[in-house]
Amino acid sequence: MSQGALSVPHHTQTRSGWLDSLSTLLFVRRRLLLACLLIPPLLWFGVIYLGSLLSLLANSFFKIDEFSGQLVREFTLQNFIDLFQPANIDVAVRSVVMSSAVTVACAALAFPLAYYMARYARGTQKAILYIAVMLPLWSSYLVRLYAWKLLLAKEGAISWVLQAVHMQWLLDAFLTLPVVGGNSLSFSPFGTFVVFVYMWLPFMVLPILVALERIPPSLIEASADLGSTPSQTFWKVIWPLAMPGIAAGSVFTFSLTLGDYIIPQVIGNSTKYIGQVVYTQQGVAGNLPFAAAFSIVPIVVIGVYLWLAKRKGVFDAL
């Protein structure tokens, strides 16, 4: 911010003296320096981001004129009442169930990997594993989704492998199940679930890894010295200390699943999740107020989730 003074042209003669006094001023009055540094980011976030969130909140109390489709700026709670229609509750419950299932599956897959990385992997192997987790985390969401379309397609790689080992019947039997089954893997809720797990898995691995790496080796030695078996050490020392990592990861997996509208649109049957309802309400239906009201549902769910986690004390060890 303050470097801007460097480019003031008509001060070139007294430039160093001028800069020196500005420098002294800023150095002595730290609050002024702090203000100079903070004003641009605060303006950006305060005006653009918070302003947008507030306008979203305000919109959720407006309504759409049924005949003209125009936004009517009048206070109403109708949108929030509409949220409690059975169809909408259905969508919310389904989304929460899916998010919970994805979170549990991610934790189950991420824990062994993070545990191995934290306790056993060293040097090059550790770097390779770290990159192996980092790369999918940052690399293209759409490309990875596309890869699953290729994998899960009826003529795709998974079917081919199952046919090669003569297990196709197993997949067919699985797909006839109610709830999770469908025409093919790429049109079944189970397919949606697998892709969600795949997408958010790195978000679970990294926090668990951080939590496990914080456990001092001396603690594990002490536990052994005091006579506990390896499995007692694991369940009484390591597991409770890994819990904050799992909790932090679960916030990511839960919130990301809850808000996603692209994965269930590409992989899965036509069952809807919160994200899709919000998306179609504001887009095709043109009902921004209702979409705004519905988009508050994930915030409330995540808030309740965080509150429960805090009450259970999972963040205490952080």
Partner: protein, 279 residues
């Protein structure tokens, strides 16, 4: 898993005893789960089959690369994505660095709130950021343009630069700055000769990650782009209604390369720094 041999070792030398076979298998199985799909994408880009996703591909060819290179709409989308990512990264680097400089070593009322505010766009589901910006634009009657995309991207990119810069600033010794000023340098000389050289690679890493993040973003973009097509939006259209599968395969490989390079570079930049810190 409970049968881990760590605690049975009487003296822990730097090399820990080996993991159980079950743990090793599950570790590498999860790594395979994370990477087989990406490998498959690369294989499909060479597939001679252009109507279905049949596996294994009946033959291999490189002709789709030439076809994809000839597509003007792909080039236009790519160019738009790169331009948006460059602008968003630039804005994010300025705002993220300023915020990091202000918050890294200070304590004041509201500091935590500002921290949360910076993280919020990436912590809340993307659809919320997207729809909020859209309703904001709508309220102010701002028409969609190149800049509405850039504003959205810059907002969620700031935190990436901020995180990298804060981590580096906290590791930097404050005595160096004091020494520089004791020796007669003013604040700007100290910034130019002491702070920026040390901060540089962290900023570069943050910028690279911000670029990768913006280049690939689709959820916020669909809400702020109007009629414009960035590369992710082009891909999304192909995902929902596949029309040109071979071209999509090639573009996917290209996107993998274009995001993987900045990510690996950023990792390498901050990695080398961590090593020198511990030495």
């Amino acid at each position: 898993m409970p049968s881990n041999p760590i605690s049975s070792a009487p003296v822990r030398v730097s090399k820990a005893p080996g993991a159980s076979l079950g743990l090793k298998i599950s570790t590498w199985a999860v790594v395979a789960f994370l990477h087989i799909p990406l490998a498959l994408i690369i294989l499909y880009a060479f597939s001679a089959e252009d109507k279905t996703y049949v596996f294994p591909p009946p033959g291999l060819t490189t002709k789709w690369f030439a076809v994809a290179l000839g597509r003007e709409e792909v080039w236009a989308a790519l160019l738009l994505s790169v331009k948006v990512a460059l602008w968003a990264t630039g804005i994010a680097m300025v705002l993220g660095t300023l915020a990091a400089a202000a918050l890294a070593r200070t304590q004041f009322f509201g500091r935590e709130a500002i921290n949360v505010l910076l993280i919020l766009p990436i912590a809340l589901p993307g659809i919320l950021t997207g729809i909020a910006l859209r309703s904001g634009y709508h309220t102010l009657e701002i028409p969609f343009s190149f800049w509405t995309i850039v504003i959205g991207h810059a907002t969620f990119c700031v935190v990436v630069v901020y995180n990298n810069a804060v981590a580096r600033l906290r590791r930097m010794s404050p005595t160096l700055i004091e020494a520089s000023m004791d020796l007669g340098a003013n604040l700007f000389q100290t910034l130019r000769y002491i702070i920026l050289p040390q901060l540089g690679s962290a900023l570069l890493a943050g910028g690279l990650l911000a670029f990768a993040l913006s280049f690939d973003e689709v959820i916020v973009t669909t809400f702020t782009a109007g009629q414009q097509t960035t590369l992710p939006i082009w891909m999304l259209q192909e995902l929902v209604r596949p029309r040109q599968r071979p071209v999509t395969n090639v573009v996917a490989v290209f996107v993998i390369a274009l995001t993987a390079i900045p990510i690996l570079l950023a990792y390498w930049l901050t990695r080398a720094d961590e090593d020198s810190q511990t030495r």
